[in-house]
Symmetry: D2
Subunit: 439 residues, 4 copies
């Protein structure tokens, strides 16, 4: 879409023809509930704005200064760093996610080819490599050729943060001007601490984050890298569970997917496969007995059923605990195992085959697909532009299709979750046909 | 993102830290050109608006009534048609595109499961099936089970339109209330004619389009279905050409991709593979001799090179012609064949291996991947909602992540093209390192 | 190879040149052991016979009547059944295995297209469908179009046998002349009982088996269908475990693969991936402490390690039990779980990340790859030929590349296992570098 | 199968039950022809020998010395070379084939890990690298990590041979004791010349070939590496052509596959897909008009058809030529293009859509699948054993499942072709239903 088009189109051009007034009550109410419960229904006056770029709104004579807006990503005409003097560093943190090697490769190629930066260091094993005195890898073009075809990260990774003071010592010692941190919530907070410490000391070190979460739960970002690849792989596991369930008498396929706090993978994989009968996510509590009763009915009616459960769903059915892992995340209880057991108990003497699939590592370790490869390339390019321009304490992301900059504080302050009254969850309910409420 | 978050966030929350003022000229100018030539550079005052929903802007007290806005997709509380009385029809037109069967299946399942519509007819071989008296398929749940795993369309397809008068006769005879037309530019114009004819006769028939173009060139739509799948497959062909070129002395891999008027597949596939040295698209004219000269330099320097050319690129190098195919599209000249010949001539006695790959049918015929499967499901659900609500002469699409309705006239009035001064093309230049101008 | 070539080639044509006498002791002895322990070493006088078909040996004037030989598969000039009068039945039994639908489709197409048999019945849910009075599926060409792209079996399956008397009643009632049984050890014994019962009653019903085992442990058969596909999928899981192990500090990837009594999948997947450090199979007992000690050394040396364990390995480390599943197979103890726990204990305070992958259902449920698709087609054709010729109580299989017939008694009388002194296991030891003995 | 089993089984154990005498003439005669024309029918007395190893036959008391037999592959107890003094060289020649990098990696890992050979040199760009003084690559474990995931060859390749005298100069200068040549017919003849020249000079250089041909036409070898992978990829192209043909009115999918002199890929891909209507191979001449007439009938009857043609088929329809490529192979005429044109002409005004697919490079450049990965590993291990034992002027291969050694002269003296009266072609006829004779 050219800017010219955005400036000349009018509301009349966008008007839609209707056959006549609508007078029939929708049967979806049974599935989706009444309007007061959900924003999913569309009213006569709802509209989707055409523009997202402030400048364009201004050119149309509409003052949108009162609306919040992002700093856009992209190259600047003037840089903060002299490219020939830059030493860049890269570190990957936390759990694996498809696309890590694509981002690393994208950074190295873009720094070198577009800006002429020749020295890029890769720290080993997450933030540990900034603290333990280990030798960083020299990331040349040669060193990153073809790494996008492997899953995982050639730099290694670890969970947990390290003393920011030692980290900045290391960066200063090695002359690093721009540090790219590829990591999740906790690691980005660690990146913020490094930036704070550098500023405190007056060191001109830009810390630029590329947010990583296979759960797609980073707020204010359309989609995190690796999510589409994870989704494809998750759909494969659902396919497997469906084949198994379909091929046996009263077969129940039970698939546990990632999603500690948000059910995005579970929801999208459900829409992708169209063979799921129940999707359980952290955002929508459920009563186990009600669920089991619905499941049994579906099996009786259909001969089999497929259940997808996000790992963070149904935690309310376990005693509270305050155990955490090395990243500081709460340890989740095993909802998949609990459901498997409860299903077997519930069916009692009724013949039943439960096929339980838990594909976590297979999903995390695949190479990025083409979609994510493109996205990782664009994220790496945006991060490079941001670092060269001297932005710091920020992450790059995509908002409504545009590359934007976000403060780390905003990217880590909350989590994106599936809105139980929003479009995605309604699409899931429409697809599975499961009851809107199982509680 | 919950609505609550959209209402409480402020511009302060979105502010980004900078290390200091930017004073260094960017080396990208050589690659991307000066500011006056391109919108790719970002200035201090550019911002990306947070909101795209008009209602939210209003709630923040900003009057955006002056800005054009789409009619949103989604379910309505009141319908136009009584679901139990509805007979729906589906027709697929034009060239193959990944996801056709997903859309068909999505329509059948959503009409049946969500609204209780039991009668869905599938017309055979495009609009021909509306005109030739052939028996339409009865599209039951059973009939569409598993069809998403096959490429192509179970309904068959054809190019070209038919007499709208005969078409409406057929719809009336079969009692069809809602006709879903899955097709491209020309077919959607055919759909418009059917809607016009029905209205002229006073027949209450809703005609709802689902735009189909593997080239991703439908205006006002984020992305057409099947595009991501096509892109993955195109990236495979580039991988093959790169392997061949890399493994031979002075190997040149030449890949012709779809893209009659727009280079979206060529550009995205380039970003996905990161192994392309030259990308040629219809939107950016080039001088063949200049290109050949750059190519030879690259081969001498690197030992091999990969060239991606969209089928519609370089048409200026052929004599004008007014031949068209059955869909009324201009017949394109064979730019791939021309380039192959010219490369061989240009290298003369220099050893050279040109590997020419033309994967058109392989790309069009693959089943949709998970991304497109999700998107097709959502398009089918939005089209169903629109049809049941009595909207007509319109298509469904996604705009900045939201389902919206577009008048057919808008969806067919122009084409989306790659902006030669926009972000995507700049990303391509940054990735290939090819000269900004080869003319 | 034409027969003519087989008849004219001589031993002289097959002689190999050597540079001179061999006098150096091989360093492999440390890995593979002495000659007296293993048949893996080749001696001066060992030779591999060129011919495997008795008829050819005879034509060369060598009397090999004293050597046992198989009845060959393939079409006969004279049939036992009049094709137009034949009703065929198909039943699939036991656990899923890639290729079931290919075999079903191959039988239906070959019976119909080559012999003109028009009535083929598909019994539901294994032998249950022969006993419970349920209506069999009518397997037309239409009904089996595209089923090869789905995993599982469209007929459904179950474990366990049924009363052969009721089974023959059902066959007689439906007029079935040829029953194709696709199943494993136990199911083939069930097929034998059906054949015995039919013979006892004087019913002319041919019972032809197509042996199914994902473990590839059917004796006297080169390779069971689905094995190559399973292997590809298993290699994917090893890849995932390797990526995870490689990307973390002291990462140990632990993959449990199928193989109740034989380690064929584990061994072949090891050779396919070349990234495995230890392969544990039922045929080679090991001492857990010795294994753990070797594993720790490998991790210390290499930074990570990958372990593949067949599900039937190490059963000697559990108390004896006589529990069985519905197929009558002994219930295996969870060696994967045990090893995971023991590894964690053994490493104690040493940092360690164990990634345990158990991809059973994903492996069983994938569609057959091209290799297995070809093989399933050929098995189905051979089984059809055998049934039309009136052979019964037998199975089809491949022996040194030729289709042959085996008595069911032979195919079920024992199991094929990995020879701990044979070529395959030696290849594994050479590939992993693990000690020949860990006991 | 343990040797013990081979020694104790008797012909009685292998006897098959029949329901009774066969009296019905087979309807296959129409398809396959009479017995006198074909060896495909099996007679009462045909048998497949159980044993293929001479030693085993002897132990059973049968003298098979009169039957020709291969020298077996595998490790010897005594070596010719002292491992610590060995420098090995590897060269890859001719067209790409899946698995080249697997063989390279297998050689390097096996030489190093099993025998302790530390110096392995990789010559660049085929035999050119032995002649042009270019620096060979140092092939360390590090250098070959992950190369199996890429297609092509990391060493590069070229066609044509070089002066053997210069080649041996290079080998002597670099101290190479064992040269592994991975290449086809012509390249293996080049390897023979190197071995001859070395022997003439008294240099102790073992030349060991690993035969490479994507066409699977090496005589006396079960299957060449990469063939299964090529077949999978070819089946994908057939799938694409079938989808295109099926989705359009009177669609004809035409797929050109590799196979200069032999139709193995065409035949196996036909069996894998089961959607092919006509398979045309070099071994079976056809009359174009007869073929066109059969094709039109099939299209009229079925609505579409799929044709697979090997590149070397139908060369009799072109004027004789003696042009050759750099490898000395005769230049083939474009049978695919001819057929496409003739089909269009033949159909005249009948509506027709021909979809022509020519996937050569895509097939050659994919990474090896798991089957070929295993096979390449085993070939590399066998070649290593052969080289260390001092065998020369030979290649490794598999014969009836056993690794064997073949003299280069035998591996290059003729070609394996599809027997027009053998099992494979009969399976193809049974699958396509095409007439046995189209001439």
């Amino acid at each position: 879409m050219n800017t010219a088009d955005l400036l000349t189109i009018t509301s009349d051009d966008l008007a839609i023809t209707r056959l006549g007034d609508r007078t029939v009550d929708t049967p979806l109410k049974e599935l989706l509930g009444e309007r007061q419960e959900t924003m999913h229904y569309v009213t006569e006056t709802d509209r989707v704005l055409l523009d997202v770029v402030q400048g364009i709104a201004k050119k149309r004579g509409v003052d949108v200064a009162g609306l919040p807006a992002f700093n856009p990503g992209g190259p600047r005409e003037k840089l903060f760093f002299e490219p020939t003097e830059v030493t860049a560093g890269i570190v990957t943190c936390g759990g694996l996610c498809p696309g890590l090697n694509n981002v690393i490769r994208g950074l190295v190629l873009h720094l070198g080819r577009a800006y002429g930066v020749r020295k890029v260091l890769g720290f080993r094993n997450g933030f540990k490599g900034l603290a333990d005195g280990s030798e960083p890898l020299q990331l040349t073009e040669q060193a990153v050729a073809d790494i996008q075809n492997r899953g995982g990260t050639i730099l290694g990774t670890s969970r947990g943060n390290q003393d920011p003071s030692i980290g900045v010592d290391t960066l200063v010692r090695l002359g690093v001007n721009i540090l790219f941190v590829i990591g999740g919530d906790g690691s980005l907070r660690g990146a913020q601490k490094l930036a704070d410490e550098a500023r405190r000391r007056g060191e001109r070190i830009a810390v630029v984050g590329i947010p990583k979460t296979i759960d797609n739960d980073i707020p204010w970002i359309d989609r995190s890298f690796g999510f589409q690849t994870a989704l494809s792989q998750a759909a494969e596991s659902i396919r497997a569970a469906h084949v198994e369930a379909f091929s046996t008498e009263n077969g129940v396929g039970l698939v546990k997917l990632m999603g500690r706090h948000s059910g995005f993978i579970a929801c999208h994989a459900t829409l992708a496969s169209h063979d799921v009968d129940f999707t359980l996510i952290p955002e929508v509590p459920f009563d186990i007995d009600v669920f089991l009763s619905c499941l049994k009915k579906r099996v009786e009616h259909q001969g089999h059923a497929v259940v997808v459960v996000a790992e963070g769903a149904g935690q309310e059915h376990f005693p509270a605990s305050d155990q955490t892992d090395a990243s500081g995340n709460a340890r989740l209880n095993d909802i998949g195992g609990l459901l498997k057991k409860r299903i077997v108990d519930w069916f009692g003497d009724t013949p039943l085959s439960v096929r339980y699939v838990d594909p976590g590592y297979e999903i995390r370790s695949v190479p990025a697909n083409a979609y994510d490869a493109v996205y990782c390339t664009r994220l790496a390019q945006a991060a490079t532009h941001a670092g060269m321009a001297g932005f710091t304490s920020m992450v790059v992301g995509q908002w409504h299709g545009r590359m934007v900059h976000l403060p780390i504080s905003l990217a880590t302050g909350s989590r994106n979750v599936v809105d139980p009254y929003g479009q995605l969850w309604m699409n899931v309910l429409e697809t599975t046909g499961q009851p809107k409420k199982m509680s």
